[in-house]
Structures are given as structure tokens and as C-alpha cells.
Symmetry: C2
Subunit: 318 residues, 2 copies
DNA sequence: TTGTATGCGTTATCAG
DNA sequence: CTGATAACGCATACAA
């Protein structure tokens, strides 16, 4: 069913039908009713593709997600959807971008071919992104000042808050970390280290990039007897450390204390529950969507948005 | 950058450029190279929207997901993406459809306006779905024989397998359940009940539809002293029961045993770990995507696909 | 082997 | 208030 057929059935021109669909221009009430009836009877809906071609506006937003198995990202998506729900936009999504810059670029190109009005992507590196003409917002990004809109968690505050979980008796901590060359990781890490130095807490590092969670946990537990606390990458890794600890007879927080990050659902279902930093993923998603829509609507502001974090004390620290 | 501009720069017609882009028709090697160079230099990509309008094929698949906070659905999406990755399709997604039939219909209409080639949706009810012309596949559906392709977990086997977790000493169980008028819920439930009857195990029901997880758990624990085991709705509800049990001084599996469903990540991170039925969500997603693409490619078979389930014994039963 | 012309479904311009 | 028509970017039928 096309606008042409409706016009024919109604005995008017396509222009008139178009006017009625879009509430544009003047139409006699009588013909409006007549045509609207035909539209309803035939359950006609305008073809969005043809509209997009003409208007050069698709009402589609493209979203790139690195990994859906981490509930942190699910929450971000829910935040995005929460904002999008009140608009006329649809969401086109690519999952599993991982941390492969090439995949991000491929996805963005594909989105551009579909004439998306804007893109929300998790952060990736390379100069390519600065050349993108399509309105774009990066979430889960470090607070980098350039010409693109970044939604950054307050990683500096996050690193600092971690140390709040470490009580006076803690002298030596083990820090589990991902690739320190990643800007977000570095932001949080540097802030944490600065705080530890201030308090004369010593630390060792254990890199877990590319390791399975189980393997990562085992590396942590190998020398755990020399440490008072473990600062893990996030709640997922923390949960796994709890699991492996149980299998190996370690008690948390008695034998060592444990700090997570993100405040995903997991944090409240483990035993002990995980002391963690809430990044407010839902808010990140909402901010990303709002900023993008703003940008699409012509707002040229490219300042970053920093989402505050909150410390959430649970049972894994004392 | 459009095909017209490329044609002009190359000194050929748009038809020739089109032939080169699509590897269709005969083109002299010399002109092919010349034009391809111009295409590459200008980083030209054909406009997918215009293509869709002409070809009436969008290479977009629409996906409807009820609730992203349940990792069961995340896994299904990952399965879908796994198949889609090797194709030329993009994914348009609507989350948070919940169990509101109207929302499903709205989303489907929107997808149709975008000329999606097919739709993968979780099951919903109403006769509307049988009238949809767009190729459609329903996942997380009961095994209903009609003209639409359904990907169903083997709910009957699932219900039966649950009882395998119940040892000889178990005489009375508490069954937590959602709306029994939902076909999938009923399938599993009836199979479970039949099995319990066979074994002379008595049971009580506790409906939790619409309740918060916490509230649902509390209802379970109220009279728990009269029961030997709890069969919960899924791992999410089971995890919450574990949490509330701990707060209320109950020990699992000593005080009562507990069975989950789905085998989401949660099941292995709680203490005790949850005995559960693995629905193989990833396989469900893969099957849904495969069947849909098949259907789009012209396969008229509307038989359902039944995905087998597996029992996974963990610590919450003995 | 290449080019011309047409149409996909819609909206906007312009004339009546 | 209404209609005829061009244009959006592309792919194909038909001519050359």
C-alpha cells in the first residue's frame, strides 16, 4: 500500500494525502476526513525508507556496544532506550565490537550507509573518529578534550573512592588491572595510586588483559597471603575471585578484603556482597542519548559530560 | 558523495559505476580500474537507503527483546549476532517490550515501516501475529503449531529435568511461578507437576507475577519450614532467594533445596551455586537467526525448532 | 561494453 | 485549498 494507491482510492492527489499524513499545509476538513478514513481502512503507513531518502533524516540512531555479557553495558543500553522511548527514533545496534578499533570503524561506516542521524559508541582510539561527520557521542570514555562529545564516568573520583574502602589496617594491596594504556583505565588507576601513596599503602600489580576470569583470579590468589586487600577490575572479576577463593579455602573479608567496580547486579548476589563503585550506567546511557539528540538538533556544544560515581560499601570490605 | 558525482569524475555514466559496485553486467577491465580508483579515492559508499527503496530489500533485521536486565536475553542476542556477523544484515532493536502485547505490535509496525526484511521477536500472544506478512521468528516461545516459526526451548523436558534435582527425601516442594496462562510457563509447569505426581511429591504454589524479586523471595520464605525444596522461576529469582535466606538465617541446601532455571552467569557466582536447567540461550539466538534468514531466502518451512535443555547440578541441591 | 531513461515512495515547490 | 511534478540516490531494462 503506497501513497499513490491511497490517493487513487480517495480521488485526490498524492500531494493532498501527504499533507494529511504530515499535518502540513491547508486541507479542507471534508477531504481530510474522507482521506483519513481510507488511510485507516487500509491500515496504510508511509514508507520510512522513501521518507529518509527525500528528507535526509532517517530517525535512526546507531549504537555500538563492546560486549553484552557485561551487565554494565546492558544498563547503559537501557538508559539510552529510556530516552529514545519518548522520541521518534529507532535504534540500530552492533554488539560485540570488543576493543577492536577496526570493528568500530566498520560498524560506523555501515551506519553511515544507512543514513543514521547519529551514533552512540563506546570509546575507541585512533584518529578516525575525529573525521566523522555524523553526530557522534562516545560513552565509557575518558575525559579527553577534543571536538567530540564524551560521556565519561568520573574515573578520578572513582579511583579515589576505592581507597575509602581500605581501612587503617591495610598496608599492602594487590591491584588487578586491564591495559593501562586505555585512557579510562589509566584515569582511574592513576587516581587510585596517588591516593595509596598518600596513605603509604604499598601495592603490586597483576595484569589480566586477555586472561579468562578464572585464570585472572588464580593469578590474584597465587600470592594472596602477602596482601591485605585486592582491588579488582570490576564486579565480574571480583565475583570470580570470590568464587575461586571459596574453592581454595580463603575467606573474604577475613583473609583479604576485596573491592569491585561498576555495581552490576552481581555485586549484591555474591557472598560476601561486593563493595563497589557505582558508575551509574543507566545515567550514562541517558546522558549519551540526550547529548546526541541535542547534537542532532543543532547544538554545537562538544563539552564532555561527567557522570558522578558513588561508593557502595558491602560485605567484602570491613 | 553520490553515484552521480563518481560517474562525473570518472567520465562515465551512473549505470557503469553501478555495474562496477555490484559486479553486475560486463565492464571493460580498463574502465573498471579507472572508476574503482575514483571510488576508492573518494571513499564512496553507496547509499543503502536508496538501494533499499529500489530493491525492496533493506538487509535489516528487526529484533524485539522484552527485558535486557535478564542475562538470558543478552545471551540470545549474542547468539543472533553470532550468525548475523557472517552476513550482510544489520540489526534494528527494540528493548523493553516487557510482556505488553501492544508494545510488540507497535515495534513490529515500526519495523515494517523501515522495510526490515524480517523480524525476530520474543513470544507474545494475540491473533495479530498470524497476519504479519513480514518473515518472522518467535523465540522463547512455547511449541505451538501454527503458521509461524517458533524457537522453543524443550520446556517439557525442562520441567521433567527439574525433578531430577529432587532426591528421595524430598516430600513437599514449593513452586514459585509466573502467570500460568503464558504458554511457555504452562508447558514447563505441567511437565513438572506430572513428574511430581508420579513420585508422590506434594507441592504448593506461590505466584510472583508482578512482584519485586525481594517480595517474591519473602513470600517463599514465609512458610519455608514446611517445605523440603523450592523450585524458583529462574536463576535471577533463585539468586534472590539465596540472598534473602542468608539474611534470614536459612541454610541452602541444608534447610531447603533450591532449583533455578536458565543457567545464566548468576548461577555460578552465588553461594551456594544454583542447580539449574540450561536453556542454551546462545543456541536459541543462533537458531532464531538461522531460521529467519532461511525464511527470508524463500524457505517456506514453518516447523518449529526445539532447543534441547540440560540439567546442571550445582550446590543448591543435594 | 556503455549510456539513457525510468521508477522505487515520499515530500516540497510551484502554479492554479 | 488542490494538483502536477521534480528530486532524493540507486539499479535495471532497453537502446545504442
Amino acid at each position: 500500500m503506497t501513497i499513490k494507491e491511497i490517493a487513487k482510492l480517495a480521488g485526490v492527489s498524492t500531494a493532498t494525502v501527504s499533507r494529511i499524513i504530515n499535518n502540513s499545509g491547508k486541507v479542507k476538513e471534508e477531504t481530510r476526513i474522507k482521506v483519513q478514513n481510507i488511510i485507516d481502512q487500509n491500515n496504510y503507513r508511509p514508507n520510512q525508507v522513501a521518507r529518509t531518502l527525500f528528507k535526509k533524516k532517517s530517525n535512526i540512531i546507531g549504537i555500538i556496544v563492546p560486549d553484552l555479557s557485561n551487565m554494565f553495558y546492558s544498563k547503559i543500553i537501557e538508559g539510552i532506550q529510556n530516552i529514545i522511548d519518548n522520541t521518534n527514533y529507532s535504534l540500530m545496534i552492533s554488539f560485540s565490537a570488543g576493543s577492536d578499533d577496526k570493528k568500530y570503524i566498520d560498524f560506523i561506516r555501515k551506519f553511515q550507509q544507512e543514513n543514521v542521524d547519529g551514533i552512540i559508541t563506546s570509546a575507541f582510539s585512533g584518529e578516525y573518529v575525529t573525521k566523522i561527520k555524523t553526530p557522534i557521542v562516545m560513552y565509557d570514555s575518558a575525559n579527553i578534550e577534543d571536538n567530540i562529545i564524551r560521556i565519561a564516568s568520573d574515573n578520578k573520583a572513582g579511583g579515589k573512592l576505592i581507597s575509602k574502602f581500605l581501612n587503617k589496617n591495610i598496608k599492602k594491596v594487590l591491584i588487578q588491572h586491564l591495559d593501562l594504556s586505555l585512557p579510562t583505565v589509566a584515569e582511574r588507576f592513576n587516581s587510585l595510586i596517588a591516593e595509596l601513596n598518600k596513605r603509604d599503602i604499598t601495592y603490586n600489580l597483576v595484569a589480566v588483559e586477555g586472561l579468562s576470569k578464572k585464570h585472572a583470579s588464580q593469578k590474584v590468589l597465587e600470592n594472596i597471603k602477602h596482601f591485605d586487600a585486592v582491588i579488582s577490575v570490576n564486579d565480574e572479576y571480583a565475583a570470580d575471585i570470590i568464587k575461586e577463593s571459596r574453592l581454595n579455602g580463603f575467606k573474604i573479608p577475613e583473609d583479604f578484603q576485596l573491592v569491585g567496580y561498576d555495581n552490576t547486579n552481581l555485586a549484591q548476589y555474591t557472598d560476601p556482597t561486593i563493595s563497589t563503585i557505582d558508575q551509574q550506567a543507566f545515567e550514562i546511557g541517558k546522558a549519551a542519548a540526550r547529548r546526541l539528540i541535542d547534537r542532532i538538533d543543532g547544538n554545537k556544544n562538544t563539552e564532555n559530560t561527567i557522570i558522578p560515581v558513588k561508593a557502595l560499601k558491602n560485605e567484602s570490605t570491613k
